[in-house]
Symmetry: C2
């Protein structure tokens, strides 16, 4: 008797607070996903990091013992200077003739900031530059979001809504099933066109990138993470690319168009009836006032 009563209360409680419970589960699940990811990264990377640190220390000791006139303090001072400048994207190496702030490089910087990719391979050095960067992005990022939204909506009319409604009429298949199949195919095509094929191209253009590194660059760029460890045309040991300016311009355009199509896929997935049902399970119950 008590049990069934409790069950009844429990069921009513569950029913009333279903979305709050779902939400709590989502929060816990997400934190777990973060923690597990952190654990795996730590397990994979920590040994590599220690190995690189050991090699660097050895290289430095080697240099000092081969050049006995150099004091360690003096060398550390020079290194500190070189590393600080390198953190802001300026290299001490003599053979590095890259300019970070000629017009096309500035355009590349501007477009990566506005799309929030922000590689950080070059950053504003002066206070004026930093202040202008804040001011420029405060307007620029919302405008970019607006611009991308409009472009994505216009493209979706052609690549999503029209084909789905066409096949719906033609095959008399359920709209939601058809939309799911369409979204999957679209995602695969976009991945091929904007990840796999560009990665192949980068393998041949960037002399020291292998396929995984090229794919990693394309993926990290089109998701707007932009870690900046791989940036085309920045590798120091490169054989000169014949038209560096044109190359950088082409990459700027590739990144913008690629981002638009990634957003098309994302928006197509968000508009799936299945996704809408799913997200409404986590939303707050309507406020009754």
């Amino acid at each position: 008797m008590v049990v069934s009563c409790t069950r009844g209360w429990c069921a009513r409680f569950m029913d009333r607070h279903q979305s709050a419970l779902n939400f709590a589960l989502l929060v816990v699940g997400y934190i777990l996903y973060l923690l597990i990811g952190a654990g795996i990264f730590s397990a994979i990377e920590l040994p590599y990091e220690q190995e690189i640190r050991r090699e660097l220390r050895e290289a430095q000791q080697d240099f000092l013992s081969n050049n006995p006139c150099v004091s360690e303090a003096r060398l550390e001072e020079l290194l500190a200077r070189a590393l600080e400048a390198s953190n802001y994207g300026v290299s001490m190496l003599g053979n590095d003739t890259n300019r970070n702030w000629d017009f096309v490089s500035s355009l590349f910087f501007t477009s990566t900031v506005l799309t929030t990719t922000g590689y950080g391979h070059s950053v504003p050095l002066s206070d004026e530059g930093k202040a202008f960067c804040i001011f420029y992005s405060i307007f620029g990022i919302p405008v970019t979001l607006f611009f991308l939204t409009v472009v994505v909506q216009r493209i979706m009319a052609v690549v999503t809504r029209r084909p789905v409604s066409y096949f719906h009429r033609r095959w008399a298949m359920s709209q939601s099933k058809l939309a799911a199949i369409h979204a999957t195919c679209l995602a695969l095509i976009i991945a091929l066109l904007f990840l796999i094929i560009p990665a192949w191209i980068f393998v041949s253009l960037e002399s020291d990138w292998d396929f995984l590194e090229s794919l990693y660059f394309c993926f990290i760029s089109l998701t707007t993470i932009g870690l900046g460890d791989y940036v085309p045309g920045e590798t120091h040991s490169k054989e000169a690319i014949s038209h560096p300016t044109l190359y950088r311009l082409a990459i700027t355009i590739y990144l913008l168009i690629g981002l638009v199509f990634v957003l098309v896929v994302l928006e197509t997935c968000c508009e799936l009836p299945q996704m809408k049902r799913l997200s409404h399970r986590f939303y707050q119950e309507k406020v009754k006032e």
Copy 2:
């Protein structure tokens, strides 16, 4: 006669293709905004970059002339090694005891990748790490977007919809005017709480950041640009922060919560009736089939 006829045709053409014309204007305007930004950045930064390059060359020449036993080639080799490692976030300096891949640092990395901030102050070094980063983000970023959307929706019910409908009933003001005033106030409050006040706090915690640099860090982080030139707890010349692990954890949480509230402001602005009217001027005319 011809003129009025042409005008009539022109007016009909304008009328029919109004949104396409608006869209073309938007594209041109956006490209102009990019070009002007690039020009200004180039004008501000190029002299600074040249100055820093000149200083670096001088420092290197100075070092070579003070240590005549060192050959330039040998020094460049060591520098190239140091700079390459620094590009992947590993410093050659002896006093740099930061670990990039202990658990809390990995957690920081994980959360900045999933929110697409991606400072790049530390990056996966190994092929396994890069592959796992792609795999982890392919699922993680959509889940993060979903998670953030749900959280933002729940917060908006409290901070946007409830107050606007309350004041609408109370003051009998037009809903769209009220929504605009509310969005402005909300944006100012969030900017104060998550930009200005944290910037002040960072000035006192990070010994070599001034207010502009702190504000620049907060802004670049919360917009998810994440250039990575300023990352708390990474400055080499720091006086040791007493609890670096706790500090990094606190920053992870600040960045997540800050991002949520920036998205609340953004979504509040997107839902303004004025914004909806504006964006529909650029959307494609309904496809008649």
